[in-house]
């Protein structure tokens, strides 16, 4: 369909045809917005990552040095590795723990359902900083958990649960738990209970029904939830910063200090790109393994 500009213009003037096709009117604003404020800044970031920092100023010289540094120096590789490991752990823990809770919340017919849903949502509303602070108080050497453990005689001296990766993993898992629950719930809601009923009618017991009907049908959503949790965990800043202290370093805390303290913007950009690649790479991997799209839409 060739666009005859002149006749289109004439038709517009005569009021016969809207100036723009209506689908464009609708599609253009969000597209433009995201292009200018999302795509372009990210491309910018990518280009800065190939520049170099010298004596406080960015030098206009293309170089792979930032990537070479981040991918070959053991110190940085360890940071990347730690970030990956921690995020995988948190994603697994959250998804595993949230499935039962999500299952219960979806299937329950209790009168208290709205209240339970509200309770499940409530921690999320407090904001990550305050919840992390709460964990700091609980996990400290003089904190609640250690106090309890020592009082009941399980341990003699306090276990170190803060300012290390363990504490961060615990805190992060809790912080993301609500998120995981609701994402899994979304996919479980899509599983028609009639199918379960049918399976049971055909003689399957509850366990078999679950394993052969419910679980497979909800799996794409569960995988999606795993991925989302992983993505958020990999990019988390507040929890590792607060619970981890100065002896813990993940990609986001590294990027933060490079950007705001050391002021090495190219290096910070390169690390950011690596973080994005880590997240996207995991998505592609999961898609490959899953065989179908794990995202809604």
């Amino acid at each position: 369909m060739r666009l005859n500009l002149v006749s289109a213009w004439r038709a517009t003037l005569r009021g016969k045809v809207p100036l723009l096709p209506s689908h464009l009117i609708v599609a253009v604003p969000p597209t433009l917005y995201l292009l200018i404020l999302f795509v372009i800044p990210l491309l910018f970031l990518l280009s800065v990552s190939f520049l170099r920092q010298e004596a406080g100023l960015i030098v206009n010289e293309l170089t792979f040095e930032n990537y070479r540094k981040l991918l070959t120096d053991r110190f940085y590789v360890r940071i990347i590795y730690r970030t990956l490991l921690m995020s995988l752990f948190v994603a697994t823990a959250v998804t595993t723990l949230s499935y039962p809770v999500a299952y219960f919340l979806t299937r329950t017919r209790s009168r208290w359902k709205p209240l339970l849903l509200g309770l499940a949502l409530a921690p999320e509303l407090s904001g990550v900083v305050l919840r992390t602070y709460g964990w700091l108080v609980i996990l400290e050497p003089d904190g609640l958990l250690n106090g309890l453990l020592m009082r009941t005689g399980f341990v003699k001296t306090p276990i170190r649960l803060v300012h290390n990766y363990v504490g961060v993993a615990i805190g992060l898992s809790h912080v993301l738990l609500t998120f995981g629950i609701f994402t899994v719930m979304a996919s479980l809601q899509g599983v028609d209970p009639m199918l379960e009923l049918a399976a049971q009618n055909l003689g399957a017991n509850r366990w078999r029904t679950f394993m052969h009907v419910t679980l497979p049908l909800s799996l794409p959503g569960v995988v999606g939830s795993f991925f989302l949790t992983f993505a958020v965990a990999a990019g988390a800043y507040a929890t590792p910063a607060i619970l981890g202290g100065k002896t813990v370093e993940v990609l986001s805390t590294f990027i933060y200090s490079q950007l705001l303290y050391i002021l090495n913007w190219p290096l910070a950009s390169a690390a950011s790109v690596i973080l994005v690649l880590m997240v996207v790479g995991t998505l592609l991997l999961l898609n490959r393994l899953g065989g179908r799209r794990s995202f809604v839409l």
């Binding site: 406080g56 110190f75 050497p141 003089d142 100065k246 002896t247 705001l260 303290y261 050391i262």
Partner: protein
């Protein structure tokens, strides 16, 4: 029909309210305001009552106070914004003051703009550079719990003593205390500020002895208040403040000596209210304010002609002689090497 009109009016009104509040939220500021970035935490109250409020009253202006950020964080912001961080006056230390001046990010604070500079020790003025005004002097002291560390420690080596494992707070490299501690470690092991390797060799064991590695001095407070930490390097001024509060702690200079800290007031070149900023700096350096400040914040001063109690003079640096006894580091060197040291420090600290 009527309902629709009401709805429409309501949505317009809400939109207007939202837009108006967002305009207000962007901080459309009235004139005659000064933005000051200085101490946070509990010290905020001290500076507000001692310096800020009298200044506001005397000049009839409003001061917006920001207590966030260590000196190095503030300086990083000044650099990142090319001298326009959003503050008119900022408290930093000599290294930042010198480097910032060299980079052209700070305004010069000579006697033309800040007349009271002529009362400051010559050496202190030199340390702060042409863009700094020294409002106080401190030194790194050994701060210890008098109940738990008996008899009182005599050497910096006590921080490495395995007897106190898990009871020591180690400052992080972002805090200049860490730099000074590194220097002392070097001095004690045959090096000096230009040859720090003997000091670096001591840092891993220091980390292992630590309860926590913390950047902000104020962030260290809960640990010693709750007696989780018994030993730490700390500024004499702040240490004295907590001692006065009744904590079972005291501070001293160990036999190896210590290092002086020159705190500075600086005005970034992008400051909006420069004249007011210079007035503020001058105000803080006035005799009356210096005397008040020295006693309120329990610190030493760089002004020559103050009337201070002997007890105060004994514990803090207020005279040229004392100034010369303590080690006086190469501040510009510190500023230039800072990020290199930060990276090396990180490599040791991060497990």
């Amino acid at each position: 029909m009527r309902w629709k009109v009401i709805q429409r009016v309501w949505s317009v009104a809400v939109t207007v309210v939202i837009l108006w509040s967002s305009y207000l939220a962007t901080g459309a500021a009235p004139s005659r305001e000064l933005v000051v970035n200085a101490y946070g935490g509990e010290y905020e109250a001290i500076i507000k009552s001692t310096i800020i409020e009298p200044f506001e009253r005397k000049y009839g202006v409003r001061v917006i106070y920001d207590g966030t950020g260590s000196a190095s964080a503030d300086f990083a912001r000044i650099r990142a914004t090319r001298g326009d961080p959003g503050w008119d006056v900022v408290v930093m230390t000599a290294p930042e003051s010198l480097l910032g001046c060299q980079l052209g990010l700070l305004e010069r604070l000579g006697e033309d703009r800040v007349p009271n500079q002529r009362f400051i020790f010559h050496e202190a003025r030199k340390a702060a550079g042409p863009c700094g005004a020294v409002q106080e002097l401190q030194y790194m002291s050994l701060f210890y719990n008098t109940k738990r560390v008996v008899p009182p420690p005599t050497s910096w080596r006590v921080l490495w003593d395995p007897k106190y494992k898990g009871r020591v707070i180690v400052p992080d490299i972002g805090n200049i205390l860490a730099v000074y501690l590194l220097f002392m470690a070097a001095y004690m092991n045959g090096g000096d500020q230009y040859n720090l390797d003997p000091g670096w060799a001591q840092i891993p064991s220091l980390r292992d002895n630590a309860l926590a590695v913390i950047e902000s001095s104020s962030d260290m407070v809960p640990y010693f208040e709750r007696e989780q930490a018994w030993l730490l390097p700390y500024w004499d001024g702040r240490a004295h403040y907590y001692k006065n509060k009744g904590l079972p702690m005291d501070f001293l200079i160990p036999k190896e000596g210590s290092i002086l800290l020159v705190n500075t007031l600086n005005v970034p070149i992008g400051a909006k209210s420069k004249d007011l900023a210079y007035e503020f700096v001058n105000f803080w350096l006035s005799r009356e304010m210096q005397e008040k400040w020295a006693l309120a914040y329990t610190v030493g001063t760089a002004r020559v002609d103050l009337k201070l109690p002997d007890e105060h003079r004994r514990r803090h640096v207020t005279s040229l002689e004392q100034f010369k006894v303590l080690k006086f580091p190469d501040f510009l060197y510190i500023a230039q090497k800072r990020s290199e040291w930060a990276e090396r420090w990180k490599r040791i600290m991060v497990r």
